[in-house]
Symmetry: C2
Subunit: 273 residues, 2 copies
């Protein structure tokens, strides 16, 4: 009888619990969440077997699936009283590790590169991690056996497990995830405020899709990684200024800008397949 304590019954936590149970990794899941509605849905859907008000009892592993700003406190609360591994699913790793000085040896920092614009237990899917990367950022203090155990859970639910340093992870995701979210938020906020939109194309829908996100989750992510996102934002603003000037000039300078961007897109597509 393998038991998982799930702290945070949102999309990611519930998808992990559902998938891990389906793969036989855990037989029993106990859920904790201050959001009573989410907790109730998770129980009604059979994603969790029981609810708890605070971490208690013995579990084989603990999944901390709460917004980035709340992770360190939860990990500190459970890591010392749990013999098994404790792992999180936060999108920023450095801030969590810094807040955990010292880092408990049984804590394995994780970030699954999967998600959805839908939230909560009702959106949970057993195939959410299938074929997606799972980044682990263990540090010097991290127990290797805990890393291996957590890696095995994620492999069981279909993820490709990759190890990186917290700094290289945060640097990369500042650019490929956090900045695009910031831009999509700023864009839709400005666009919609300006006027009602109709007759939009799929390009617009795709471009703003990531703005349909959880407010608490993204407030924490953006602030936690602000020092790495800021230089990328400044870089983007300079590029926008450059593209904007070229747009006004037209002709060759604009063509070169777009050509360069389209080439970059093609290079990305090729590397991505």
């Amino acid at each position: 009888m393998k038991s998982l304590l799930l702290i945070g019954t949102g999309l990611i936590g519930c998808s992990f619990a559902k998938a891990a149970r389906a793969k036989g990794v855990f037989d029993r899941v106990v859920g904790i969440d201050h959001d009573r509605a989410a907790l109730g849905h998770a129980r009604d859907l059979g994603i969790i077997d029981a609810v708890a008000n605070a971490p208690c009892g013995d579990h084989d592993a603990v999944c901390v699936a709460v917004p980035v700003g709340a992770i360190a406190a939860k990990v500190r609360e459970v890591a010392s009283r749990c013999t098994g591994p404790v792992f999180d699913v936060g999108s920023v790793k450095g801030s969590v590790i810094d807040a955990l000085d010292p880092v408990p040896p049984n804590f394995v920092p994780c970030h699954p590169i999967a998600g959805s614009e839908h939230q909560g237990p009702l959106a949970a899917r057993t195939d959410l991690f299938e074929g997606h990367a799972l980044i682990m950022t263990p540090v010097a203090e991290t127990d290797r056996a805990a890393v291996d155990a957590v890696g095995a859970y994620w492999k069981a639910v279909g993820a490709r497990v990759v190890e990186r340093t917290p700094a290289s992870h945060d640097e990369c995701f500042a650019l490929v995830s956090h900045l695009p979210h910031l831009v999509a938020f700023a864009f839709i906020d400005t666009a919609i405020r300006a006027r009602p939109l109709d007759q939009v194309g799929n390009g617009f829908r795709d471009f703003v899709r990531i703005a349909g996100a959880d407010v608490d989750v993204w407030t924490d992510i953006l602030h936690a990684n602000a020092t790495r996102i800021r230089p990328r934002l400044d870089e983007l603003m300079r590029a926008l200024e450059r593209f904007g000037k070229a747009m006004e000039q037209g002709g060759e300078s604009l063509e070169q800008c777009i050509e360069s961007a389209v080439c970059a897109k093609r290079a990305f597509d090729e590397a991505d397949h």
Copy 2:
């Protein structure tokens, strides 16, 4: 025997010809393109029956599916010698109409809100316009019979035909299409230049999808509508500055920014369905 002259055998022109033929609107399509490879593909695929070097012969209608900057000259060339309607598919309407002073009465300015990141005759699809909006921006000089005939072609291929003024069209698309493209171009150009990307999520893929575009088409669009895009770009840059500052502060100011954006996204989704 109804005949269509198709000037420009790219994705949009070929999709229209293919769909209109499938619906019995035209029985014969003659194609013109200075891109001999595209023309050859269009013929090999049976999208066009014959190629021509210049507009000649009598056709029931002419579809001018060339980049925005080349539309006016082509329309001027064919409109006077063609008794049937002539229509374009350009993403900017005002610049074409301004360049056509006087506007031929049989010219109907059109913009189908459909596309793909794939280009050329090989990507042509008969269902490309199915359920999508087709915006017509006739002016005072435009012959009503031509508008009705062209509207009927687009309805036959599944589009929802909507009439707007050229100015309101260009104002709207500066925001919902041209600016997102400019941002996606600037973003991917900066992002890829900076470092090789791996482990990106679907959010990134969706966000940059529109950067996979035709260079000539988008060079023309952005320049033709630059005066309307520029104020929207400035607005976005101010919003980015505001969101960037809130990101650094964190707490309530950031939460309010994201809350507002997520609400705007929800409002858009509701209006969009």
